[in-house]
Amino acid sequence: MQLKIQYYALLREQAGRSEEILETTLRTPAELYAELAQRYRFTLSREQLKVAVNSEFSDWARTLSAGDAVVFIPPVAGG
């Protein structure tokens, strides 16, 4: 299935892109992050992140569907 991945802040810089369409058989955000962290050598561990699917906070074990938009959320620093 195809997923849309968007990257922000440190993850955007380490991935070298703001977004990409990924063809994958991985089923959960947790599996997806493990693969992408290896590919792009992300320095943040999954435990430091939150994840959003289709612009809403999500569980890491959620089953992803074709067309889902996934965003990994580094530690925030607003204000």
Binding site: E13, I73, P74, V76, A77, G79
Partner: protein
């Protein structure tokens, strides 16, 4: 929208106007300013980046929670994105209320929750030429990536 972003200076006069209420006898605001020092490093400027689709929803939920928890009239939070210089206003929270106590409480609640929950990131640029994403770099596992890559794609 009681939580919003702007890439231009925050218009606090227009913001105050939105909070006007004849039943309000008190108005409290918090201004977050860009500071020249963080954890011992001299800061020269900041970049704010937001995942706006989710940030707007979460920010709106925070303001709605504040209005439920505290008996205030109106509340508003405006956050800058993009490049900011020292001394600039980065975030503005304002509350109007019949009495001052709950206005202070609601204002404090909103800024505290925004800092913890809303997907906004801050990149500091330092006098020594280095830069870093606040809360992301020093806790990162592989320090050789922490700053070296940080100069490449900042403005995409």
């Amino acid at each position: 929208m009681r939580f919003r972003f702007t890439s231009t200076p925050i218009d606090i006069i227009a913001g105050q106007r939105e909070l006007k209420d004849l039943g309000a006898g008190g108005f409290v605001s918090f201004e977050g300013w860009v500071r020249d020092l963080n954890e011992g490093l001299e800061v020269t400027r900041l970049e704010y980046e937001a995942f706006q689709e989710l940030a707007l929803k979460e920010g709106e939920r925070i303001v709605a929670e504040a209005l439920r928890r505290f008996p205030v009239k109106h509340a508003l939070c405006i956050h800058r994105v993009g490049n900011l210089d020292l001394g600039e206003l980065a975030v503005w929270v304002a509350v109007s209320s019949a009495h001052r106590g709950e206005a202070f409480d609601a204002c404090r609640f909103i800024i505290d929750e925004v800092k913890h929950r809303v997907p906004i990131w801050k990149k500091e640029h330092y006098r020594n030429g280095d830069s870093g994403w606040v809360n992301c770099e020093r806790c990162a596992a592989a320090p050789e990536h922490a700053h070296g890559d940080a100069h490449s794609g900042a403005h995409s």
